[in-house]
C-alpha cells in the first residue's frame, strides 16, 4: 500500500477533494452523485465533532499537567544554567567587583525596554584589551575578563527585533544611547562599542 494513497469513493472522487470544498456549496457533480453526497454528510459531522472536541479540550481544566511538571523542568534548567563569564569592574586592595555577562545583559535588555518598537534578543559581550593587539579579542584563561584594565573596553553585540513601523536608524541610535547611559549609571564603566543587529521584524 502506497503511503500517500488517498482513499477514493466509488465515483472516483478522492476524500481529500471533498474535504477541501466541504464549506462550499456542492459542485454540479456532487449534487448528482449519491456517494459524494453521503461522504459530504459524514465529513460535515466529523468537522462538527472535531471542532467541538477541540474547544472542549482547550477549556478542560483537567486536561493540564500538574504544577510539579513545570517545577521539574525549571529545576533542571536552573541546575544546568551555563555559568556565564564574569567581567571585572575594578580591583582594589579591599576586594574586587565583578559582574556576570548575564547580569550585564539584563541591564542592557532593561535599558532597551525604554525604546518603543524594540524587543531585545540575544546579547553577547566581549572584552577587548587595550594596547595594539590586532586580533582584538582577549580572553584570559579563567572565567573572568577584565574591563578595568587601562584602555580595555566592552564590545556589546545585541540582536533585536523591531516593529515594522519604526524608523530603524534613528531608533537604533537612541537605543545605543540608552544602553550606554544605563551601563555607565548602573555599572560604572564605559560601554565601549555597542553593535546592534536588527535581525527580525515582529508584528504589533
Amino acid at each position: 500500500m502506497a503511503v500517500d494513497d488517498v482513499p477514493r469513493l466509488g465515483c472516483g472522487r478522492s476524500i481529500d477533494r471533498i474535504w477541501a470544498t466541504i464549506d462550499q456549496p456542492p459542485s454540479p457533480h456532487e449534487e448528482k452523485c449519491e456517494q459524494c453526497q453521503s461522504a459530504r454528510e459524514r465529513l460535515k459531522k466529523l468537522t462538527e465533532a472535531t471542532r467541538s472536541l477541540r474547544e472542549s479540550d482547550l477549556h478542560n481544566t483537567s486536561l493540564k499537567p500538574r504544577l510539579s511538571v513545570k517545577n521539574a523542568i525549571m529545576n533542571v534548567a536552573r541546575a544546568e544554567i551555563r555559568r556565564s563569564r564574569r567581567i571585572a569592574l575594578h580591583g582594589k586592595e579591599n576586594g574586587t567587583t565583578e559582574i556576570s555577562e548575564q547580569a550585564l545583559s539584563s541591564v542592557i535588555r532593561f535599558a532597551a525596554t525604554a525604546i518603543p518598537g524594540i524587543h531585545a534578543r540575544r546579547c553577547h559581550i566581549e572584552i577587548r584589551s587595550g594596547g595594539n593587539d590586532p586580533s582584538g579579542e582577549d580572553r584570559p584563561s579563567g572565567n573572568t575578563a577584565t574591563a578595568a584594565n587601562e584602555g580595555a573596553h566592552l564590545i556589546i553585540n545585541l540582536r533585536v527585533a523591531a516593529a515594522p513601523s519604526v524608523e530603524i536608524p534613528r531608533t537604533v541610535d537612541s537605543l545605543r544611547q540608552r544602553i550606554s547611559n544605563a551601563i555607565t549609571a548602573c555599572v560604572g564603566i564605559s560601554a565601549g562599542t555597542i553593535n546592534i543587529t536588527v535581525e527580525d521584524l515582529y508584528d504589533v
Partner: protein, 202 residues
C-alpha cells in the same frame, strides 16, 4: 505559512514576540524560558494525552520534551522554529512510548482518566444549556475519541497535530519524516476512517 483555522490558540499572548522570548531563553534567561514552558506545556499535554490516554505518561512526555528543548535551545538556528520543534519533540516521545507499549501489550490505558476527561467535557459544547444538544455533542465527541484510538499511532499523530493543534503540513511532515503529500494522504485516510466509523455508530 499555511493559514490556520479559527479557534486555535495564538502562539503566545504576551507583550514580547515569541521570537524574542526564544532568543532570550537561548541566552540562558530563565524567566524567558519559563514563559515558553507556560505557553507550551498545556498544548503539549493535550497532544500527549490524546495520543497516550494516560495522564502520567502525558506529563512525562511534556517534562521530557521541554527539558530537551531547554538543552537544545542554544543550537536552534531560527527562533521562529521553536513551536514546531517543541511539538516534534513531544510527538516523537509519544510515538516511542506507543512502540514500547506494543512490545509489552500488558500495559493498559488509564480508563479512570479517560472517564473523568469525558465527564467534564459535556458542559463545554457550543449549544449552551440545551441538554439534548449537550448529550448529542458528548456522544459525538465520545465516538470521535474512541475511533481516534483505533487509528495507527502515526495517523493519529497526523490528525491531532493538524485538526486539534493547527500545525502546518510541512511541520507535520518534518516531525514524522514523511513528505507533505504523505501527510495529506494520512490525514485523508484518518478522516475517512473516523467519518465512516461515526456513521456506523448511530
Amino acid at each position: 505559512m499555511e493559514d490556520r483555522g479559527a479557534g486555535f490558540e495564538s502562539e503566545l499572548e504576551l507583550e514580547l514576540d515569541e521570537g524574542s522570548i526564544v532568543a532570550r531563553a537561548q541566552d540562558g534567561d530563565l524567566a524567558a524560558f519559563e514563559q515558553l514552558v507556560i505557553a507550551y506545556q498545556d498544548r503539549l499535554f493535550r497532544l500527549a494525552y490524546r495520543m497516550l490516554n494516560d495522564r502520567g505518561e502525558a506529563e512525562d512526555v511534556v517534562q521530557d520534551a521541554l527539558t530537551a528543548a531547554w538543552r537544545g535551545l542554544p543550537m536552534l538556528q531560527d527562533v521562529r522554529a521553536f513551536g514546531g520543534w517543541a511539538y516534534r519533540l513531544a510527538t516523537n516521545r509519544c510515538l516511542d512510548l506507543l512502540r514500547k507499549r506494543s512490545a509489552h501489550p500488558e500495559t493498559i490505558t488509564d480508563l479512570e482518566d479517560l472517564r473523568s476527561a469525558t465527564e467534564f467535557r459535556a458542559t463545554y459544547g457550543p449549544g449552551g444549556s440545551d441538554p439534548a444538544y449537550e448529550a448529542e455533542t458528548a456522544a459525538r465527541q465520545d465516538s470521535l475519541t474512541t475511533l481516534l484510538n483505533t487509528l495507527p499511532p502515526e495517523q493519529r499523530a497526523c490528525w491531532l497535530l493538524r485538526e486539534m493543534h493547527g500545525r502546518s503540513y510541512a511541520e507535520i511532515g518534518a516531525t514524522l519524516k514523511i513528505s507533505q503529500s504523505a501527510v495529506r494522504g494520512r490525514l485523508a485516510r484518518a478522516r475517512h476512517e473516523i467519518a465512516e466509523g461515526m456513521s456506523e455508530w448511530r
